[in-house]
């Protein structure tokens, strides 16, 4: 056989499918590369001093004085428990830090899963997706690796709710999707900002719609099976830091450094929360009806409000200097607030009579260190209301 002729007759597997998938990615890269946001830069510079002035005015106003009265604990909650003996609600907490990833049970017992980071629970707590260097992996709750893929600079793996049939993750600035058993890994879009993608909750078998943020500050919701966009917001939302869907898939929360925006399932902005200071974290309650926001300022504060009522319904839950993250308990009754400078976790009850419980020495228990800049264990999720038997 002539080698040259044989070579010219070789076909690669699934050429047509590969071509269709590649076109989606390249088309996206092309659209996102078109000049779109250069005009926005000027007015952003104009708006910044206004925002600073508004924040200052709020701090000095009577409302600001009211805020100051919320500050009861600047160096941590007094009489905090010296170790985590139990969680106040069912479920398990996942944390990652310099000491690796830990799976913490409701009775306070903790299992180290290994030197992983950026972990996330599968919808029913059966598996954990996590990353390590250039590897993304699925683990069981005991830390056994179920599958592992090597891709460069991986981060932020997220399972599709409610079935876990898909996992989305970032590899550099590329958004990739892999089936829940580790097969069929492929790129979906490129030019992605370093923000965790968010699956829109749907039926077990899809449609698999995924929200992500691009480097030009655009929120895109795309069908991961067909590659077609469901909707795209106007670009220009710089420094998007978080995306989260409500449990019924009707609202998408988009956090920027100064605002929290609620988008409807069709891509319209239905509510805007502008707290007058940095927005640090935000999360929907497990039933999707309430929104918890952590905002910064002279003092950082945690507020909870009804999604349907918007910003006017926000009520204070807890405040302190140097708060970092929020996580809802699976039953929606408690909020876990991480407080690195105080080396504490604070549990705040948000349903029924208010109650605060705190645990100290968190960094030491989970291999981290007390640091406002990093190193304190990161909350990766609190799952699930009904814990699978045998775990």
């Amino acid at each position: 056989m002539n080698a040259k002729r044989a070579l010219s007759r070789v076909r690669a597997p699934d050429e047509t499918g590969a071509e269709q998938r590649a076109w989606v990615v390249i088309h996206t890269a092309y659209q996102e590369g078109l000049p779109a946001s250069s005009r926005r830069v000027r007015w952003r510079f104009a708006v910044l001093p206004v925002l600073v002035a508004v924040a200052g005015a709020v701090a000095l106003s009577p409302a600001g004085a009211t805020l100051a009265r919320w500050v009861k604990h600047t160096l941590g909650v007094p009489h905090a428990s010296s170790a985590l003996f139990s969680l106040p609600a069912p479920g398990r907490v996942l944390v990652s830090g310099p000491g690796g990833t830990w799976n913490i049970a409701a009775d306070g017992s903790a299992r180290r899963l290994g030197s992983w980071s950026d972990a996330s629970w599968s919808p029913h707590g059966l598996y954990i997706a996590a990353v390590r260097g250039d590897h993304v992996a699925a683990l069981n709750p005991h830390g056994t690796v179920m599958w592992e893929l090597a891709r460069p600079a991986v981060s932020k793996p997220r399972w599709y709710p409610p079935s876990g049939f898909r996992v989305a993750y970032l590899s550099g600035d590329t958004l990739r999707v892999v089936a829940g058993d580790g097969s069929g890994d492929r790129a979906l879009a490129t030019g992605i900002a370093a923000v965790a993608p968010a699956w829109r909750p749907g039926r077990a078998d899809g449609p698999y719609e995924l929200a992500y943020a691009t480097r030009v500050g655009q929120v895109v919701v795309r069908n991961a099976s067909t590659g077609r966009p469901a909707w795209m917001a106007r670009p220009g939302l710089k420094h998007i830091r978080e995306l989260a869907w409500s449990a019924d898939g009707s609202h998408l929360l988009v956090l920027t450094p100064t605002r929290a925006l609620l988008y409807s399932q069709n891509g319209r902005v239905t509510a805007t929360f502008s707290p007058g200071g940095p927005t640090l974290d935000g999360s929907f309650s497990p039933d999707g009806r309430q929104l918890a926001l952590l905002t910064g300022g002279a003092v950082d504060r945690v507020e909870v409000g009804s999604v349907s009522s918007g910003a006017s319904s926000l009520r204070p839950v807890f405040s302190g200097s140097g708060l970092r993250q929020l996580a809802w308990s699976p039953n929606g009754r408690w909020l876990l607030v991480s407080w690195p400078v105080a080396d504490q976790w604070v549990f705040a009850r948000v349903v029924g009579a208010p109650r605060i419980a705190a645990v100290s020495h968190i960094a030491g228990q989970f291999g981290g260190r007390v640091s406002p800049g990093g190193g304190f264990p990161r909350l990766d999720g609190w799952c699930c209301q009904r814990w699978p038997t045998g775990q």
């Binding site: 056989m1 002539n2 080698a3 040259k4 044989a6 070579l7 010219s8 007759r9 070789v10 076909r11 690669a12 597997p13 699934d14 050429e15 047509t16 499918g17 590969a18 071509e19 998938r21 590649a22 076109w23 990615v25 390249i26 088309h27 890269a29 092309y30 659209q31 590369g33 078109l34 598996y127 250039d134 590897h135 992996a137 690796v145 179920m146 599958w147 592992e148 893929l149 090597a150 079935s163 876990g164 049939f165 590329t174 089936a179 829940g180 058993d181 580790g182 097969s183 069929g184 890994d185 492929r186 790129a187 490129t190 099976s225």
Partner: protein, 201 residues
């Protein structure tokens, strides 16, 4: 139970459909310069035409070097994304294919070199992702190519699949012309030897 995967394409089936890729309508053939100009001006149709014209060979070239269709898809995609992002820097007096091919082949060589250090899966009970199971000529050619180093494979693929001249290969891979010629000769000899052995068997 672990969540089942969506069916993934079976390589053998895909290889069986080894005819030319389906044409999308009958239209006047435009030169690549016009397509690049159109794409730079914002024409998605021109970009798509450019993509459809050059994708199959880019993907095949990557596949023949790395022998992993998922990696080949990634490599060809990344090369196209890079090309699209740098289209405005492309010298339109030169042909597009060698420019794209050089990106694909260099990435494929890097990937093949790094492969030994990577683990694709640690769970042996799971099926590999659509393991290539080529049949007929493809299987023999792939087996023969696998006996070559990534650098030799790249030279052979550039010459006989992408139809580069030895001078263009030397430029794309930043190699002396003599090295290209010797790798081509050795690569082709090895391929023909393996293919003859396969025929006798």
């Amino acid at each position: 139970m672990f969540p089942p995967a969506e069916p993934v394409p079976v390589a053998a089936e895909a290889l069986a459909a080894s005819g030319p890729l389906p044409r999308r309508g009958v239209r006047r053939v435009r030169g690549e310069r016009a397509l690049i100009r159109g794409a730079l001006a914002g024409s998605e149709a021109d970009l798509e035409e450019l993509f459809r014209r050059f994708w199959p060979r880019a993907y095949r070239a990557a596949y023949l070097i790395v022998h992993d269709h998922a990696a080949a898809e990634d490599i060809a995609q990344e090369a196209f994304v890079r090309a699209v992002r740098h289209l405005d820097q492309f010298d339109r007096r030169r042909p597009f294919a060698p420019w794209l091919g050089a990106i694909v082949v260099n990435r494929a060589i890097d990937w093949a070199r790094a492969r030994a250090a990577r683990r694709e899966s640690v769970d042996r009970t799971l099926e590999p992702v659509a393991a290539p199971d080529a049949g007929g000529y493809s299987h023999e050619v792939l087996a023969a190519l696998a006996s070559l180093s990534p650098e030799h494979r790249a030279v052979v693929v550039l010459r006989y699949l992408l139809e580069y001249t030895p001078g263009e290969i030397a430029q794309a891979l930043e190699l002396p012309r003599g090295t290209v010629n010797s790798r081509l000769r050795r690569g082709l000899d090895a391929l023909e030897h393996r293919l003859r052995e396969g025929e006798r068997a």
